[in-house]
Subunit: 386 residues, 4 copies
Amino acid sequence: MNRKLRMGMIGGGIGAFIGNVHRIAAQMDGKIELVCGAFSSTPEKSKESGKQLLLPNNRVYGSYKEMFQKEAKLPADQRMDFVTIVTPNNVHYDAAMSALSAGFHVVCDKPMTMTLAEAKRLQTKVKQTKQLFCLTHNYTGYPMVKEARSLVRGGQMGRVRKVVVEYPQGWLADRIERNNRQKQAIWRTDPKKAGSSCCMGDIGSHCENLAEYVTGLNISELCSDLTTFVKGRILDDDGSVLLRMQGGAKGILWASQIAVGQENSLNIRVYCEKGTIEWHQEEPNTLIVRWAHKAPEMRRTSTAFVGKAATNNVRTPAGHPEGFLEAFGNIYKAFAQTLEKKLNGKKVDESKADYPTVTSGVRGMAFLEAVVKSNTSKNKWVRVSK
Amino acid sequence: MNRKLRMGMIGGGIGAFIGNVHRIAAQMDGKIELVCGAFSSTPEKSKESGKQLLLPNNRVYGSYKEMFQKEAKLPADQRMDFVTIVTPNNVHYDAAMSALSAGFHVVCDKPMTMTLAEAKRLQTKVKQTKQLFCLTHNYTGYPMVKEARSLVRGGQMGRVRKVVVEYPQGWLADRIERNNRQKQAIWRTDPKKAGSSCCMGDIGSHCENLAEYVTGLNISELCSDLTTFVKGRILDDDGSVLLRMQGGAKGILWASQIAVGQENSLNIRVYCEKGTIEWHQEEPNTLIVRWAHKAPEMRRTSTAFVGKAATNNVRTPAGHPEGFLEAFGNIYKAFAQTLEKKLNGKKVDESKADYPTVTSGVRGMAFLEAVVKSNTSKNKWVRVSK
Amino acid sequence: MNRKLRMGMIGGGIGAFIGNVHRIAAQMDGKIELVCGAFSSTPEKSKESGKQLLLPNNRVYGSYKEMFQKEAKLPADQRMDFVTIVTPNNVHYDAAMSALSAGFHVVCDKPMTMTLAEAKRLQTKVKQTKQLFCLTHNYTGYPMVKEARSLVRGGQMGRVRKVVVEYPQGWLADRIERNNRQKQAIWRTDPKKAGSSCCMGDIGSHCENLAEYVTGLNISELCSDLTTFVKGRILDDDGSVLLRMQGGAKGILWASQIAVGQENSLNIRVYCEKGTIEWHQEEPNTLIVRWAHKAPEMRRTSTAFVGKAATNNVRTPAGHPEGFLEAFGNIYKAFAQTLEKKLNGKKVDESKADYPTVTSGVRGMAFLEAVVKSNTSKNKWVRVSK
Amino acid sequence: MNRKLRMGMIGGGIGAFIGNVHRIAAQMDGKIELVCGAFSSTPEKSKESGKQLLLPNNRVYGSYKEMFQKEAKLPADQRMDFVTIVTPNNVHYDAAMSALSAGFHVVCDKPMTMTLAEAKRLQTKVKQTKQLFCLTHNYTGYPMVKEARSLVRGGQMGRVRKVVVEYPQGWLADRIERNNRQKQAIWRTDPKKAGSSCCMGDIGSHCENLAEYVTGLNISELCSDLTTFVKGRILDDDGSVLLRMQGGAKGILWASQIAVGQENSLNIRVYCEKGTIEWHQEEPNTLIVRWAHKAPEMRRTSTAFVGKAATNNVRTPAGHPEGFLEAFGNIYKAFAQTLEKKLNGKKVDESKADYPTVTSGVRGMAFLEAVVKSNTSKNKWVRVSK
């Protein structure tokens, strides 16, 4: 394919942290270009954002409905190829369903929907339309996460026994949502926009996804204790969850937004019969690998001592740290490769693609639903819907 | 007092790791000397150990009963002042009760007894006899643990919200207790000697003690999930516990003996309203302190930037790492100071001493009993006896 | 300015590590686009690279001379605005001089030229043409390097006493330049392409630049010991240098390409009268700050606890690691801002721009010349040309 | 041998940091006991120290001359076996010569003497008297230093190419010697007591010793730049040295007492043809080992993955951090084993003992003499006396 893929964007106007992240990540490898967008819930703000992004005025829309309608009518060599949805959670479902109906492939932020029921309907829609659907569980894009996955799933470490996955942040330790400029804090703590959970929906879902991605084992039962530490807040800002996973593995999952001084400290340890992996998102280029029968190793991004899955996801030699944006870019890169293949008329099996799909989105919502149910249950264990 | 305190020892014969630890720790500061012992359950082995320890033959006994009897008859200027009990768990209770009855002060390893009922009887005995009783929860002897405690309890960090305490080890990842030389593995996995729990009794109890020591908050309710991962083993080798603490704090406690590649990785994080402390036993001279309103600090042993509680527990200047033995020695040092005071006829309030007492032992057994009960309960929360 | 800046590229064809780095860095923030290039010394390879980069065939040139000629004739709304030179060292000078003559602004890789004399002529040319000239000393683009600079130069730490700057790599520990695929190894060890030094020219120059950037003090005298450890190699693959800097500061500079197992471990420590900064390129988002009168701090990218110079150079919130490409992008971002200003007709004083200029290039060549001279001198100290 | 070895002490009265260190280290393993001492230059202070150390009054002496005289006359089963000299540097030579003359074995602090000539005379004396002489270069007592030595000398890493050894401290960054309570600062900055160098004599000598110990290669030539940063001070408080070692290895040695915020940060890296070791004294239980052909390892004290030399020097299982005092204790332990053998009438070859001997002391003084000479020389390289 001798052209860039054309991306439209929903949400992510100037000032929204995540919009810029998606734009940099998508365009990083020179395979995708932003061509249009409906950047805000108000047409004026959308126009202003489009202008600052140097887009032509006629490709900046007042709503995503308008965007789908007008883009669909453009000539094939101008029309956007896919849309990326980077709005608050409550918009995801309708925007994604509409995009698929209008014939556009979709990249969507997580959590995928507001409820498990919605997630399942979206899954059905993806199957019916045969469009691509990529969920930006970005942390799985890190090379050393892929190395961890290869090690744990590769068999040399034996069966998984214990998973400890944590995601402490401290940014909501005070009630900053009362401050009008803190847009992300406002919508994430608002049940109408965030859904049934703040902390578990936003970052607990990353923990669930990371644990299942690395181990290949689903969480089957759980026992949760959610807390709202900050007075006046409605949704949880911290949650601890005991996990039971397929194959007898046990786990602990902790996510928090009130962990003062923690920035974005997602980390995972997987203890198997013969070895252990440990990874920290804030120092993402090192994977600590411990073995029963030899000294612990520090596997490092881009060195000769890591496997192909990791090596396929780097841009620079060893010691040139790659970070959050590059990992995010890897999700888009994998999506672009698959989309290119599809647009070239080749057969594509999305379940084998190296990016999270609608299936991950359904898993995430099943997890969330169980976590919220368990929190108020007197019974110890609650099943996670398959 | 112009002489060293005289210590007798029960258990800890040559080859037992913990016996040597206690001997080094107790004698480190030149205030205590080992004068006698009943080092083994067989008199021959006891004699052999005593010889290697350069003790006179007539101060090496075949049993602790014999030791208490004969030492009691020695002149006051030769008789041991206190006994230290470093046997497997099942011996602690009787040895301690007998020592107190015979008029000797006691230092005892943890967990204090086999059951909560025993623990309470021992507590009563201590009160009645007015002897000193020190429980060697040695990890509280580290200077940076004391600094953490001062910070968390001092008020400047606000209320405690979340405690995460972990103790992963990997030494029991395989069934090494079938190997006849692995004495510690043999007794720790044997319900008759270890009690109702292996992992939680041995190291989970350190987590409980550390969490309550640093925060000053008792665990009031818990929800546990214990596992025996290694086939053929009877007791737990891993356990996850959700905690509810006094004052609304929540917690996660994890202890494991099957965490491959982990050595002795006890660590604690306490998240308060305005600050956070983080401490790792394997790098014990650094305390990471995070604040809501300034950059994170690394507080270091023996520097000018830590408080008195920490500074009182060091022997060398900053940058001269002190470790496990020194921390253990701090427990003995605090005990020796208190005992010296008592022997000098001064009034002593053991509840204010800077070492763990019988009260900690009762707390530990209450915790263990609740953990074991919760594990088989279908109810989510189990109360911890006060 | 309502359009992207148009960049041409010399060198950096497909397969060259550094070409891709420059393309990602330049285009990361959506302010620059690659529009043309002369990517290789052979026209065929240049065309092939241009094709893979999705450039139109008529904007891919066989040589940079051709590129300057033809681009200059294009209409103003198509013509490239500046050229970025990412070839081996021996091409820099002529390409840069030609570009400036042809009226194009220049971004150039380091070391700037082959000799100090060339560097000075280039400096003169820049002055005469009044074009912009940016030297990609990329490591100064890291936010925490800027924080270090602010701290050290801001006065609160007192005078600089000692600088220790190191850059160990291990990639040339064996004679890999005999392997035909190792293009970078081949030219860097070849005096005709690399100049008078391999190790000091490639990475020693980064040390010099970083030390002077952070402290604001020039190196006035030095004493060097260069070594070629790998048999058969002509140029140095390791070098130690003692430094004397303005104002009485002393320093140690070490660069190596034979430091087995080291990846790209540039690091700097600056010891002042009242404080110390320490920064490691491989974990670039942490700046360790030590003080005479308080506990050491970990200052972190994007937190509220760093200054404006750092904060202006981030794209994501705290805990979302930014790396090598983002730091490189910061150089381009600063250059783009300055160029935009200039193209908008505003007055520009490049000496105040937040990117390295031709002045840094002259400093670098003066340093290199002194290092090479000192290496064979019997006298202890050699002056660095001002 | 069924008794403890009897130690006398010169210097190290109450309040002197290093006296207490020697007492704890010597007595840690239950093989040595302090029986007498001349603890201070004034008899009153010596008596007071002896009393606090619980020594009988008649074994506390007013001077070391008196101690040698009187101890020599005691019955063989009471007399001290060896003396440990822990005074300021200027006393070492005479005390050691006198002890050897009086028939006592010697343990002595470093640097061994005030001059190289003295060091050589002392070496001759040791040969003549055939007494044991142990120099407490304590940092070589760390298990992971011994592991490093085994790895580097064992051949599997190939030839040594580069050594970087550093010892930054910050305690003399201000002129604290004017404060009367800072005894150590007072004598270390006083040429009459410390000799020709402050920083290099005190801690540079540890660097030299560590580099030669780990590599087995002597420093043959050097080029030094010493500085006195603090106004009013006479001796150096910082020094950088380029090294040329046997076999073509190169090195950098840096020691500083003005490195603000550094505690006691001795560290060494040795780069060989196929591997690299890195060790930091402040985290002494980890040895980072990098290899040309596999992922870097973290070798850890007391694990199954380190060699015999390391394993022989531990007291606790893996993960129970051992520190400065234990490493110091290892020197005494090795000395005690050798002395015991000698007292038992066995033949002893001290050059094969696992503790530093008078030979190390001579090396240290040769190094110091060359460093001081080079500092004022205009020639680049100065030879180190063999």
